[in-house]
Symmetry: C2
Subunit: 313 residues, 2 copies
């Protein structure tokens, strides 16, 4: 356990959930899910991420054991009276859109993250998709983060605009999807939306130029800094089994890679995109987190290599 | 005129039309359009393309003069009694979809392309989007083409399936958009669709492995050979004035670049994609062919350079 008490390189706050997922090709019930789970499983291939989240008394010992086995520091995972956050969703044949069948917040409703001593020294911090006020609460507890990443969603854009604006100013890297970028800025064009979001990020002291990643599902991503753009397509898959968690997995691979390499240059941010995109492609190949449990470093390296060959000219 | 009588490197057959285009940002009436016009204007930046098409007696002398000035061999452009093919279309705020307002085939209805002596020696041949039977008629007149490209559209996929299958077998490179690839194969996934189309292309003698380019609008393109894939995003534009002709412009840039460089290696095909994509991006920046009239070699080189920086990692 010594390892878990040392200062973590990468801290993530977000949700741990039990997901029930239906697709035209299969379904699973009460499988391990949530943004922090996907993030940590992906980041665990590069560093030992520390997960800050809450689960209920129904959280299964075998799920705890599995997360530990996958190189994740669970000393920040609180177990509270009540049930674990549960979510159910269904995909149609077009895997790009899904319907939420139910959302039971349970213990997540009163989640109030308090970091332990070691976690306050985290160098890399990722604020997963939770209420912006909680994101700020976590951020303020970390003493001197080298890099702060932030995700959000349409729900907070509508319901917590001011807190979100404050959280965005404190972030170095924002990772959101294209519909969120559009909703946030009322701009359809991604270049115009990006410029506006980079402007919203101005204000705080930053360790690197404000960086924005706009995810575009199967079409890949665009990464922006003030005068720089990078485009990476999604790794081409013949069959998508389940896109749930792909965005969180991308973020986990991205920040895990940065925490491992500690290089914040633009060139290395591109490689972090490739690492994240590769992990996300594996994530989509099976239901829930199943595939993320079973990839090797060689698998990841091979796919990053193929991505390079796919795009370089 | 000596130049026009020499054997052309690149021959294109397709339509020359007068287009009426409405977008939320502007409109033009009876402006020079048609697949062969866009193709030739783009290809003219790399080689002297020979255009095989038909216009009516209403075709304006200044349009003829302009095409000649833009490095296009017009010795295969027939003027027939009647009116020039006319098309009208309108775009909504989502520039990805358009409504056809009218289609008047006019002289194009009885188009029966007969090549002159020099044109029969063309090395590079592009069969623009016309009836597959006409595409075959042209192809059979060219003695020993080094490379045959083919475009088609949903209308022919539905109404001339057998002739299209025959034309596809005779082509070395097929350039179609993703909805056409889906309709042709009944496959939603582009990798599966591509494999099927590459199989449909087997049969004839080829000078290079069967090559397929699937265009995806603003998301760019995928290029396939049997075991190879290349992805190129669209050049990122802040404002799209009019996407009419962008696909034909891409094909013109692609084949123009190949006709100039005469290198059919996979690496050079990638550069041809970048050249085509660059021309297509310029095409979208103004109504009709307006922008294609006014770009410099330096503009093109600069944008290809930027595309490389956008994707290479």
């Amino acid at each position: 356990m010594l390892k878990q008490e040392s200062n973590p390189q990468l801290l993530v706050v977000g949700s741990v959930a039990y997901d029930s997922i239906k697709t035209p090709f299969g379904e699973i019930g009460r499988a391990l899910g949530g943004s922090a789970s996907y993030f940590s499983l992906a980041a665990g291939y590069f560093t030992q991420p520390a997960l800050v989240a809450v689960v209920g008394e129904d959280f299964l010992p075998q799920d705890l054991a599995m997360l530990k086995k996958k190189n994740i520091d669970l000393s920040g995972l609180a177990v509270m009276p009540g049930k674990t956050f549960a979510w159910g969703g269904e995909y149609g044949f077009d895997m790009n859109s899904r319907t939420t069948l139910f959302t039971e917040l349970n213990v997540f409703e009163n989640f109030s993250p308090a970091l332990n001593g070691a976690h306050k020294n985290a160098e890399f911090l990722f604020l997963g998709n939770i209420h912006p006020a909680l994101q700020i609460q976590v951020l303020k507890q970390v003493k001197n983060p080298k890099l702060v990443g932030l995700d959000t969603m349409n729900f907070w854009i509508e319901s917590a605009k001011d807190e979100l604006a404050q959280a965005m100013q404190m972030a170095d890297v924002i990772i959101i999807n294209d519909s969120e970028a559009r909703e946030l800025t009322k701009q359809h064009n991604p270049l115009k939306a990006a410029r506006q979001i980079l402007n919203l990020m101005q204000g705080g002291e930053k360790n690197l130029p404000a960086t924005l990643v706009i995810k575009r599902g199967e079409y890949g991503l665009l990464m922006f800094q003030e005068k720089k753009i990078f485009h990476l397509p999604g790794y081409p898959l013949e069959d998508v089994a389940d896109p749930t968690g792909a965005g969180d997995t991308f973020a986990g691979g991205f920040f895990g890679y940065l925490a491992k390499t500690k290089d914040l240059s633009w060139e290395n941010l591109k490689l972090a995109c490739a690492a994240g995109s590769t992990l996300a492609s594996f994530c989509c190949e099976d239901l829930g987190t199943a595939k993320l449990m079973n990839i090797s470093e060689a698998d990841i390296d091979q796919r990053i290599f193929e991505l390079k060959h796919l795009v370089n000219f």
